[in-house]
């Protein structure tokens, strides 16, 4: 139920909500932008006023000075125009806001100083009327600058200082008491104007901050909205998936051949699947709300069942493969294998218990019948074989008199094949016992050298038939192993008879003992043809013989090594084989040392 992208989109809102610090650079850029956006108006206004002023003042004695001033104004107007043009053409003026502010400050100072120059030079040399006109113009320039530059009060301060201070000086030194008084008041007016500009500056600043905050809020809101939309889609998808798996689960339970119950923690039935209805003969509605254990296990000791139930609820651990007899509605007892799974919520409380029951009555019956059959087979096959092999052995032993050579040959064949049939029955019974888990071993501490010597003695007659000698390699060390005596002899007999069967005539099958990785390894080494490549992987499988024609030639059931492997595993040992350097095969078994 892991839909792609769920993890990262769910993590995002915390980033959104995180408060970013105010960005002074962005506010500065906004202020610069505001200043420059007003610049064209400032340039045009200043130029028009300058033209009017130059025209009106041209009459005086200083025509050249007026012309010079007009030239200065024209130059400055061009320079400011260029500044504006440069700002607008800049690819990223916001990044260089400080630089543009500095340039604007310089242009403002120059602008102010131009008007300061006009005041200082033209005021003393003109008539009273012209002086009023000039004073009015200067006052207008100072006042008008407030709106133009208030976004940055230091620029306004620089600009107004350029106008006010030269004019103040002229008024103070004019020699007129009234002008001297105005000269005294002018710095105060200046200070008030700068103060107003500062105040406006603050208002602008907070305005810009608000704008940014609002902009960010809008951004956040949009992002949140987007995310919400996204999550809604995912939630819908998740809901669909949950619904689908719910349907799937319901279908599993419904179609399951296993009886499935949901019990509440008090052991009352909540729901059951159709298999449970069929198995026990109650309908789901009949069972709902009933005490499940009393209904299904009426014969069991109530206190015992109740205790085991409450133990499971307390431990919250599932119980698996419990075998218990249950009673159907019609009173028939059935044996079921039960799996109980408590469902636990976040608070570690059991909210319900899923109980699955599989009817194994027939399976148990089949197992019992199989066992009975095997046992009968064992008896019924062995009894006639006892007569057959016994008779032939008596004949072949010669106690009943000498036989004709041909007759003896045939009776010997009959005896050998009778023995083979018996071996096969024994092997099949062994496999059956191992697979049904009925084979029990009696492990004991054994002297291994003795047991190996005994196994050689037991198999010598068999090896003689193939003209093969069985021998130990030197004196065997006196070590002990932990193994089942009878079964270990069976394993050794298997390995020795295999080795003898496949060895060339006149060769020797050698038995060795050594210490390998904490085990005692017994090796049976032959000079046979080796194990064919294709056969190596299934050599320990059942009915395994490299070449089926060997079965007829050499005898053997093909079960021997499979049995050996299982017996050794049950004893805690291993079996394996390896090629011998100069031809032939070594089969080895590892046996655990006594603890």
């Amino acid at each position: 139920m892991n839909s792609p992208g769920t993890a990262d989109t769910l993590a995002a809102p915390s980033d959104l909500v995180e408060r970013r610090p105010e960005d002074p650079r962005r506010i500065l850029a906004d202020r610069v932008e505001q200043l420059y956006s007003q610049l064209p108006l400032g340039i045009v206004t200043t130029f028009v006023i300058s033209v009017v002023a130059a025209y009106e003042l041209r009459e005086g004695r200083y025509v050249e000075v007026v012309a010079f001033w007009a030239g200065l104004v024209l130059l400055l107007t061009l320079a400011r125009g260029a500044l504006y043009w440069g700002y607008r053409r800049s690819p990223d003026p916001k990044r260089e806001a400080e630089q543009w502010l500095r340039w604007l400050a310089i242009s403002a100072l120059a602008n102010g100083a131009t008007w300061g120059f006009a005041g200082a030079v033209f005021f003393p040399s003109h008539t009273d009327v012209e002086q009023v006109f000039l004073a009015f113009l200067l006052a207008g320039m100072v006042a008008g600058g407030v709106t133009m530059y208030a976004v940055s009060w230091p620029i306004y301060a620089v600009y107004a200082a350029g106008i006010v201070f030269p004019f103040t000086y002229v008024l103070a030194t004019f020699g007129n008491r009234l002008f001297a008084e105005i000269a005294l008041l002018l710095p105060a007016f200046y200070a008030i104007n700068v103060g107003i500009a500062w105040r406006l500056n603050q208002v602008f600043d907070s305005g810009y901050r608000l704008r940014h905050a609002y902009g960010r809020l809008t951004e956040d809101y949009t992002a949140l909205n987007r995310q919400l939309q996204h999550q809604l889609i995912e939630l819908e998808e998740a809901r669909r998936q949950v619904e689908a798996s719910g349907r799937k689960l319901a279908l599993f339970a419904e179609r399951s051949p296993i009886a499935v119950f949901e019990f509440d923690p008090d052991g009352r039935v909540v729901t059951v699947n159709p298999a449970a209805e069929n198995l026990f003969g109650y309908s789901a509605s009949e069972l709902a709300g009933r005490a499940g254990t009393e209904t299904l296990f009426p014969t069991a000791a109530t206190s015992d069942v109740a205790q085991r139930w409450s133990e499971m609820i307390r431990s919250r651990e599932p119980r698996v493969s419990l075998r218990a007899n249950a009673t159907r509605r019609d009173g028939v007892e059935i044996t079921c294998e039960w799996n109980l799974t408590p469902l636990v919520n976040r608070e570690h409380r059991v909210i319900s218990v899923i109980v699955q029951g599989r009817d194994i009555t027939q399976q148990l019956e089949a197992e019992r019948m199989k066992q009975e059959f095997t046992s009968t087979l064992s008896h019924e096959l062995r009894t006639p074989l006892t007569s057959i092999i016994g008779s032939l052995q008596l004949i072949n032993s010669g106690v009943l008199g000498e036989l004709d050579k041909d007759v003896l040959e045939l009776t010997t064949i009959a005896e050998r094949n009778g023995q083979r049939l018996l071996d096969l029955i024994n092997d099949i019974l062994d496999v059956e016992k191992i697979e049904s888990g009925k084979l029990t071993l009696v492990p004991e501490v054994l002297g291994l050298a003795e047991l190996i010597t005994e196994s050689l003695t037991l198999n010598r007659a068999f090896a003689d038939r193939f003209h093969v000698k069985l021998a130990t390699s030197g004196n065997l060390p006196l070590v002990h192993v932990r193994a089942d005596r009878k079964r270990l002899l069976q394993i050794m007999t298997n390995l020795l008879s295999n080795a003898a069967k496949f060895s060339p005539e006149g060769s020797v099958v050698e038995v060795t003992m050594e210490d390998v990785d904490g085990y005692i390894r017994v090796g049976v080494h032959d000079r046979g043809p080796g194990i064919p490549e294709a056969f190596r992987t299934r050599i320990f499988g059942r009915f395994a013989q490299a070449d089926m024609s060997y079965t007829r030639q050499k005898g053997g059931t093909g079960l021997g090594l499979a049995i050996c492997k299982r017996l050794l595993e049950m004893m805690g040992g291993h079996i394996g084989f390896a090629d011998r350097a100069a031809g032939g095969t070594t089969f080895w078994i590892d046996l655990p040392k006594p603890r």
């Binding site: 092999i389 016994g390 052995q393």
Partner: protein
């Protein structure tokens, strides 16, 4: 070890073929005196009459199985002391242990070798206290 050698053996077995083989084995190979009883229900009186050194019992027989006969022998003073050896095709280790626990002195599993049977019986006989 008993003072005298094993000489008289009584064998209770319902299968006539096996009876014949055992008789041949014990008489011809083992040179023993043998009494065969086919019906386990008549076994007690035949055993008392024959006075064997050792009794050989089959496990599965109609009418009364080997263990039941063995228990009956244990109840009678005339047969109580006789050593009993079972011959059985039911080779489960648990069942063999059960027989030993009941007081059987030995078990021989089917199929047995008639060549070796007398020696096996003598070995059991010689191992008796």
């Amino acid at each position: 070890m008993p003072t005298q050698a094993l000489n008289r053996v009584c064998y209770v077995e319902d299968d006539e073929d096996i009876q014949r083989i055992v008789r041949m084995s014990l008489e011809k190979v083992g040179k023993l005196t043998v009494e065969i009883v086919t019906d386990p229900l008549l076994a007690i009186e035949r055993i008392i009459a024959f006075k064997p050194d050792l009794v050989l019992l089959d496990w599965m027989m109609p009418g009364m199985d080997g263990p039941a006969l063995f228990r009956k022998m244990r109840d009678l003073p005339e047969t109580r002391g006789l050593p009993v050896v079972f011959i059985t095709a039911k080779a489960s280790q648990r069942e063999l242990d059960e027989l030993r626990n009941m007081g059987a002195v030995g078990t021989i599993s089917k199929p047995f070798s008639p060549r070796d049977l007398p020696d096996q019986l003598r070995a059991i006989w010689n191992a008796l206290p």
